[in-house]
Structures are given as C-alpha cells and as structure tokens.
C-alpha cells in the first residue's frame, strides 16, 4: 500500500508526460507521414501555443477559450509556413530538415524579441485535487490527460474512419494515383501541415500552466518527440503512442532511480537502438 501511494502519482506524472509527448509527436508524424517533412520547427510551434495561452489569459480571455484559440492561431502560422516555405521544398524533402531548423531559430529569436528571454507562467484553471484510493492528484493534470487522450483518438479516427482521412492515406500511399482519382494532393499536404501545427499548438497550450513558458521550451519537447516517431516506426499513428510511451515513460521514470544526466543518456541510447533496429528491418523487408 505504501509503495502504491508513492508510485501512483509518479506513474500518473509519467502518463501525462507521455500523452503530451504523443500529442506533439502525432503532429510531427502527420507532417512526416503525409509530406516526408521532418519539421524541426515543431517545438517552436508548441512554444507558440503556450505563449498564445499566456498572452490571451493576460488579456482577460478565459483559460479554456485560450486553449481553443491556441491551435487555431498556431494552425494559421503553420498555413503561412507551408505556403511560404515548405511548398517550395516539395522536391527536396531532406532539405526541409534544414529549412525548418532555420525557421526554428527564427521563431525562437522572434519570441525572445516579442516576449523577452525570461520565462512566463499562467495560473492553472483550478487548484483542486482529486482524491481516489488514498491518492490526491491535481485535477488539472487529469483534465489535461483526458483532453490529450481524446484528441489523440479523434485524430486517429479522422484518418482511419473518414473520407478526408482516406484521401490523405491514399496521398501517402501513392500520390500520383490519388491525384488521378481526383485528390488534390497539394491541398491534402497543406492541410496536414496545418493540422500538425495545430496539434503542436494545442499541446503547448495544455502544458502552459504546468511548466515554465520561455522561448527555448520547444527544443526540450522536439527531441524526444522526434525520437519517438522514428523509434515508433515513422508513419503509423499507432507507432506514435508506442514510441512516446517508450521515450516519454523512460524519460520521466528513470529520473527517479538515477541522475538526470544518466537517465537522459539511457533514454537516448534506447531511442538510437530502436531507430537502428527498425530502420534495418524496414530496409530488409
């Protein structure tokens, strides 16, 4: 019982990290799967989502409305980025890694200039805790987990069950044939980038009350999200959850046994081995 009381909050913390990471990674994977684009500016889109909430709440907008506004605002930024930058690199997918890395630097510095280099915070919408089986846990974190899980399931259902999702999957599988059947492949790609950006914005908005918001916060999420999707297999939506569970779970749980340095190293090693094995198997099949 004592062990349960100690471990349950830790596991819940790990789960909430995994779900947020999965949300960030899902945005990355939508963009990677549909466009072959590794979006290294994804962490900055996440950061913009968090700042949207900080600013909006500062202007007196209710918290939950700000959470709804964030993906819309970040999705709009994503649309601009797709039209102005990504579309021009359609024939050179590897170069999008570099271009989006440049974009990441630009967005980071723009945030430093606009909001200052220091960290900001936003109050949680509720300080209530929920007590169950002897454990009390912050209610906001539970709400965050529920929303993240809901959005993950909804996005997967969008791809698996709807006609729009079917066209998007066709555009991944065989863009030429999809186009010949009447799918506007370019528009599908633009939409997927906007959706991916909006997911990053939503993730940023949701974590804004529980972490400190600063211009460099994106990188800390980008790297594990990036490793999650590659370790999880690149394009499958189910793989995202698996990858995020391995990377995020290891990251937040190992910290309790070993120093943060060692746990980081272990997480990265797990990711590298997973990516190497998966890539070798993909090439072999």
């Amino acid at each position: 019982m004592g062990a349960f009381l100690t471990w349950a909050p830790l596991l819940l913390d790990a789960l909430s990290f995994v779900l947020v990471l999965a949300l960030v990674a899902l945005g990355l994977v939508v963009i990677f799967g549909l466009m072959g684009v590794i979006n290294l500016a994804h962490g900055e889109l996440f950061m913009l989502g968090a700042y949207t909430v900080v600013l909006a709440v500062g202007w007196g907008v209710p918290f939950w409305l700000a959470v709804v506004l964030a993906p819309i605002a970040v999705g709009a930024v994503g649309w601009l980025v797709e039209v102005l930058l990504i579309r021009r690199l359609a024939a050179r997918p590897l170069d999008t890694i570099l271009a989006t890395w440049g974009l990441a630097i630009v967005l980071q510095q723009a945030a430093v200039l606009a909001f200052g280099p220091g960290s900001r915070s936003v109050a949680r919408p509720t300080d209530a805790t929920v007590t169950f089986a002897g454990i009390s846990y912050p209610a906001y974190r539970l709400e965050l987990m529920a929303i993240a899980a809901l959005v993950l399931v909804a996005t997967m259902a969008l791809f698996a069950r709807t006609r729009v999702g079917l066209r998007a999957r066709a555009a991944i599988a065989d863009p030429d044939m999809a186009a010949a059947l009447g799918v506007n492949v370019r528009r599908v790609r633009a939409q997927s980038f906007v959706l991916g950006a909006a997911l990053a914005g939503l993730a940023g908005a949701l974590v804004a009350p529980i972490i400190s918001v600063d211009p460099h916060m994106g990188f800390g999420f980008l790297v594990p999200a990036f490793l999650s999707i590659l370790a999880g297999g690149g394009v499958s939506l189910g793989g995202v959850l698996g990858g995020a569970a391995i990377i995020g779970g290891a990251d937040s749980l190992l910290g309790h046994w070993m120093s943060p340095v060692v746990s980081q190293i272990v997480v990265f090693l797990i990711a590298i081995v997973a990516i190497r094995l998966r890539a070798a198997r993909a090439a072999g099949s």
Binding site: L166, A179, A180, G182
Partner: protein, 230 residues
C-alpha cells in the same frame, strides 16, 4: 471529344512523344497499339496530367485542358486505369471504391455492382489479397464510380489469363453500350483490341504512324506486320 494536336513530351532531355495527333470520338472505343517503348504509357500520363507536356495542345469538348492538374482533369471527367493497376493494396475494396468518388463526391452508383457483381461480395477484403483479374476489375470499377466521360486504360490485359481478358472485353463493351462512356484503350493485345475497338491507331517512335477501323485488323494485315512486328 478529345483532340490531341502536335503533342511533344518526354523525361528530361530525352523526348518520347514527338508530335502526336489523335482524335477520340464520343461514345466509341478508340485503341492505340504499339510495341513496348514506343511511348504509350507516356501518352497516358500526359493525358491525365501526371507528366507535363513540352508543347502541343489537348482539348476536351472544345476546352483546352493542356496544362491542367490531374485532380482537376479527374473532376472534368477523365478517369485513368494505369498499367499495373495501382490499386491501394493495403486498403479494403470498399475504400478503393470510395477513393474513386474523390473526383465528384456522392455515393457509389448502383450500376457499378451490376457491372462488377463479384466486387459486392469482396467489399471488406484487403485489395492486395485479390487475384490479378479481380484487382483489374477493381481498378476499372474504381475509375468508373466517378461516372467519367472518358476512360483511359493502359494495358488492362497485361499479365492476365485469356479468360480474364475476355471478361474485361465484356465489361468494356457493356459500359460503352450502357452509359456511352468513351474509352481510350492502350494495348498490345490484338485480340482484345479487335473485339472492342471501333478505331485503332498505331504509335511508333512517339508519333501516330497509321490507323484503321478496329474490325479490319487481322493478324495478317500489313499494318500489323509493319507496326507490331508480329
């Protein structure tokens, strides 16, 4: 309905089509015969907008469609069954058919299952698990669900047993008769062409080298000897 004038196209520096001129009349089956490497598939890809042309014009019902994107051409009523079929192997039969609706939306017209009765039973199956003949029927059905005005077929008989080729011929004759769909059939299979095509053109080295009424083609005719080397 479709007029191709002085069409030139190719890949990079090497030209494959060197000035193709061809008319396809409403409600007919027009066939194009040619050996491998003569530019048949290149012509199909240009017509459906997947390969940009270097010069020339294509008009559909008196409107120029020369540089239209493939999805717009699909919405204008062009449908395409490529060589090798290109069905989505990991999707179900139903999903493949639904994708055919991308060009116009709506529902799958009931006559599709009259033309392809076996697909009704296979709807839940993964397309990749179907036999070659079934996959070809699926590719045809998928092209027809959008009720196109012009159907472009690139070697539908390739790799199929003679009985399956006969079945494809039956379907083609039926859809032309039922719905007045115009068909442009690119083939090497002389028997299929003789059976279904009203007019046949020959593609040699990227130009149209001659034509004949479909039923006049016998394997002994000098045209066949000259252009197909049979």
């Amino acid at each position: 309905m479709l007029e191709i004038r002085d069409l030139r196209a190719g890949y990079g520096q090497s030209m494959v089509l060197n000035g193709v001129n061809l008319d396809i009349a409403h409600g007919t089956v027009t066939a194009l015969l040619g050996r491998n490497g003569m530019g048949k598939t290149t012509l199909c890809r240009v017509l459906i907008g997947l390969l940009p042309m270097t010069s020339g014009t294509i008009t559909l019902d008196n409107d120029s469609i020369s540089h239209m994107a493939p999805h717009r051409l699909a919405r204008r009523g062009l449908a395409y069954v490529p060589q090798g079929r290109s069905i989505f192997a990991r999707f179900t039969v139903q999903e493949n058919l639904d994708l055919g609706l991308s060009a116009r939306g709506g529902r799958i017209p009931p006559h599709i299952f009259e033309w392809f009765p076996m697909l009704a039973e296979l709807r839940g199956r993964r397309a990749g698990t179907l036999s070659g003949g079934e996959q070809q029927m699926l590719a045809l059905a998928r092209a027809l669900v959008a009720e196109p005005s012009l159907l472009i077929l690139d070697e539908p008989s390739e790799g199929l047993q003679p009985s399956r080729v006969t079945a494809i011929g039956d379907v083609l004759l039926r859809i032309v008769a039922d719905k007045r769909v115009t068909v442009f059939l690119v083939e090497q299979n002389l028997a299929l062409v003789r059976r279904v095509a009203a007019i046949t053109a020959f593609l040699v080295d990227g130009v149209i080298a001659g034509g004949a009424a479909g039923r006049d083609l016998s394997p002994q005719s000098p045209l066949i000897q000259r252009y197909l080397g049979l």
